[in-house]
Symmetry: C2
Subunit: 368 residues, 2 copies
């Protein structure tokens, strides 16, 4: 299964909106065939592994199939994988995670069991889920999986009062941040960051087959048509302000303006935005924004993970990395869990995850 997970990791940037899946077919400790899900429309991992075995001239009858995700049992752009697996007459099928779609979960496994194939489930479930948290979130709750990236000093300051923020963290941390951008479907920022930094939001430090979609939260539709992130690819601009004239001007820059007003004037309905993204098949959202949008997403409960880069410096009187309302009781602060603490260059990367969100995914992806 670890090898199947490694195969799934090789297609981190190419399967979306499909899940990243790896499959290894083994008999007597020998690998007969292996594969990972190809880009949308192409064969899934099981089919690739079967074809690999066939190309080697090997029969897989009676072999064990290790698959990181339950074989699909429905017709999508490709026929159901479970039929191909059954046709190969496996001796046993081992699965990491189930199909997180609650309407489907277990149907592929049930088909296998009904044909007398022994099935083992839940092997390396957390690792498989970490590769497909976005797919699982979209399938199970109709929202993408969202992480907020921050870069700050040890005392949580992301810029000096004069606006100076480049570079608090070092080149290795920036490159690592780009690797996280690269795996996401959408890189989301706020209007404040566009005005201050005019970022391109492209993935630069990592070789990628496709750039993630760019998106901006711009409550009052103030973004300039000459912002650098308009580079020809379609950019999503979420706003609370319905201004068809401005929207038309932006459309000429290949911006798609989505009007989703929230209850507060000039503020986008962030939950509606994420539901809208899920309907566009967005699995993973990488937020790289200022204290305002990051804080608003946190306050709205839209953040699943925090990806925090910490620089070895104390800045004191400077801008805070996140804007949140004042609390009167520490018990009211929403705690996450640290899942990772890693030196990256001269900086440290801490990853945090809200436990309730992860538990919900685990239970949606727990194969039945």
């Amino acid at each position: 299964m670890r090898h199947a997970l490694d195969l799934a990791r090789t297609v981190l940037h190419t399967t979306s909106p499909n899940p990243r899946v790896g499959c290894v077919i083994v008999r007597d400790g020998l690998i007969l065939g292996e594969g990972a899900t190809q880009p949308p429309g192409g064969p899934h991992a099981e089919i690739c592994a079967l074809r690999d075995a066939a190309a080697r001239g090997l029969s897989v009858t009676g072999a064990t199939f290790y698959v990181t995700l339950e074989p699909c049992s429905h017709f999508g752009r490709t026929p159901p994988c479970v039929d191909a697996v059954l046709a190969a007459a496996p001796g046993r099928v081992v699965v990491a995670m189930g199909d997180p779609n609650p309407q489907v979960n277990g149907a592929g496994l049930a088909r296998l069991r009904a044909q007398g194939v022994p099935v083992t489930t839940g092997v390396c479930l957390p690792e498989a889920l970490a590769l497909n948290a976005g797919f699982a979130a979209r399938m199970s709750r109709g929202m993408p999986w969202l992480w907020a990236k921050t870069a700050a000093s040890l005392d949580g300051r992301s810029a000096l009062h004069n606006g100076m923020s480049q570079w608090i963290t070092g080149p290795a941390a920036r490159a690592d941040g780009h690797a996280w951008r690269a795996r996401a479907d959408v890189v989301l920022t706020g209007m404040g960051t566009v005005q201050k930094d005019d970022p391109r939001l492209t993935v630069r430090d990592v070789a990628v087959p496709r750039q993630p979609r760019k998106a901006v939260v711009d409550g009052r539709l103030q973004i300039s048509e000459s912002a650098r992130l308009f580079d020809g690819e379609e950019v999503w601009v979420f706003t609370a302000h319905d201004d068809p004239v401005k929207a038309e001007r932006l459309r000429r820059r290949n911006a798609r303006v989505i009007v989703l007003p929230g209850p507060e004037p000039g503020r986008v309905d962030l939950h509606a935005m994420l539901r809208w993204m899920a309907r566009q098949h967005v699995n993973e959202v990488h937020v790289e924004a200022g204290a305002g949008l990051t804080g608003a997403l946190l306050s709205a409960g839209c953040v699943d993970e925090i990806l925090a880069y910490i620089a070895p410096v104390l800045l004191g009187d400077a801008y805070a990395m996140v804007k949140l309302p004042m609390l009167s009781d520490l018990a009211d602060a929403r705690r996450f869990e640290f899942i990772d603490a890693l030196p990256i260059g001269g900086d440290v990367r801490l990853r945090g995850r809200f436990a309730d969100r992860w538990q919900a995914l685990l239970s949606a992806a727990n194969p039945r």
Copy 2:
């Protein structure tokens, strides 16, 4: 040498103001004797190891001596260890760090070499120095080694605006913090913390043979005689305010008032305070204070290491963990180096060290 370092770690709390030293005598891969420095006045590590071998009835002639610190060559409370080592006719002596006192460094090694004993130096130097950074700092620069402990949210907030700060970090982080208190000679806090939390400043979560000295920076000598830290043991109160009446009242609580005014009215001369401590044989100072004193020590360049506990929470609008003057250029921020990133319970501990300070110690402790 790693075993000798482990032995030195067993006496972390008992040798001060002497260094923590371990010694292992080895021949043909067998340990003949081992030992670690005993409390002041007692035998040093080499003597303990020689006695251990003698107690086992083993001769150490021609054996290799691994010592974490250069054997002393002067009469202190005990005779020079180098004489005892030479009397044992070693085949070879391997040393981690030299005596950091620039007047002495190398004298013990020179005595060994003069008698024809081969000497190897610098083995595991950083590990040995980490055990004795305080001793090395006091010997080489006349100031103790000082670390500032902080406990804050991921965004660097140590208390809510209503003062609520217990407990941002969890019990494991607090216990770890007490282990750092325990190894220090002095636990230092500020008057703000005394007023706000009325801390006892004792080591509680760790079994220790002796409590570290408590000390308070109290520029205006406002501390109450009923503060909980006055528990019978002598407490040092550093002040800028010469008030013999108040000082006398505090003396009855076994407080020793040290008047060291700095150039700013009402502010203690922090450098003078540390030099004063070094003259009292203080090797290591653990600072556990609020944003004010921690920031003042940082600004004055008195901090060598940062011991930061980070809780998995974001607090936004709350008190900052450190008060520092506003900067206009990031290049002016004094950067440290992360030397450690470790999950502790649900929190993360990051240790930072100012590289120039460490380099100075390394060069003072590099055996000649």
